[in-house]
Symmetry: C2
Subunit: 207 residues, 2 copies
Amino acid sequence: MTIRSALLALLEHKPMYGYQLRAEFERRTGATWPLNVGQVYTTLSRLERDGLVEGTGVDEDGHGMYVVTAAGREEAAAWFTTPVARSQPPRDELAIKLALAVTVPGVDVGTVIQHQRSATMTALQDYTRLKRQASSGTADSDLAWSLVLDSLVFSAEAEIRWLDHCEARVRRAAAERADDPVAPAAGPSAGPSAGNPSAATVEEVSR
Amino acid sequence: MTIRSALLALLEHKPMYGYQLRAEFERRTGATWPLNVGQVYTTLSRLERDGLVEGTGVDEDGHGMYVVTAAGREEAAAWFTTPVARSQPPRDELAIKLALAVTVPGVDVGTVIQHQRSATMTALQDYTRLKRQASSGTADSDLAWSLVLDSLVFSAEAEIRWLDHCEARVRRAAAERADDPVAPAAGPSAGPSAGNPSAATVEEVSR
DNA sequence: CCGCGCGTGTATACGTGGTATACATACCCG
DNA sequence: CGGGTATGTATACCACGTATACACGCGCGG
């Protein structure tokens, strides 16, 4: 319920109308997670249904304004103090992909890792490029957007470290299997510790 | 479309029925992202609708079996080779929360950070505890599940580093504002790296 | 023996997230 | 004056996630 809570928090600051909420959200987070306008309106009506905000007619310009209720203020405060649950983390597509890549035969894990690695590297470069032009002002929103950017950088770096780690472990697992006494050694398999460092295919890893 | 692709990849391995798919998915990823059974069936029908899998009646035990089609095999291969798009990363609830915390008045950012930090630390301890009992066998699925676990560890560590980084930057920003009549006074006074034991390698990250 | 819990297995409903799009107004500019 | 663009509201539609209904088989104790 990320969007829901975020809109609630923004409304706690001051009453707003739909379009304005979207603008404020994006101003604080950069264009990192573009928020679709439609979602704002549907979420607002759900918030009103649940008694967390209240639509107070239209203002002088004809905008449908919303104010947060007491219950809403309470829930917003709870959102800020309650840490996000790491016990059930959001699905990580990359982790799932690699987990399947090492278990499903016929997939070249090394290639998957390298493709992802270079993609993440370019993203990282984009972030650092953005950072130069983002750290100009001293406004709150600049600080927030800069922190969000840092978050992206940190997680991208972690992802690269993890990919390297995976490559090493996959290679090691392949090696263990190769000189496993009972291993059928289907073909010389070009020696996992041979020239190409990224040549660990599933044929070597699994089965 | 994570689930969709994952199921497709599993079916590429061998034909299966719904419940079995869920079991295979969880065996490879541990219980990290428990996959709801219902989702399997709805996803399977969507896959069939799109011509990527084909339901081949029931087997001798009455299970509704599914096989992947040529188009499905193609899409699965594409999924493995195409890196996950970092250009539009999934919404990060924590990053959003902090970005709003520093921009909405009346929120104690320090408290938010500390709560999250301790929550992430406990999660990290849980992971390392799990790791000991997970690295026993040598089967494919053990390697996969172990890699997934490593992914969680890496990202939790990154999160903690980021939180420390945020704390330092927020403190610095507050200090600048405090002794900032007009000109940026020289001394950062309190010193951002006061007593923090986990002093993140903030590198040349920002400012 | 029979009911009961439990694991296995399939299917559907419902709320939310996310995206596209329809629709309306205002304002600038050629 | 007519069209493009920015602002603003609203709705439709699909995908995801969870809960739940429903059915079957099997072991176990009263």
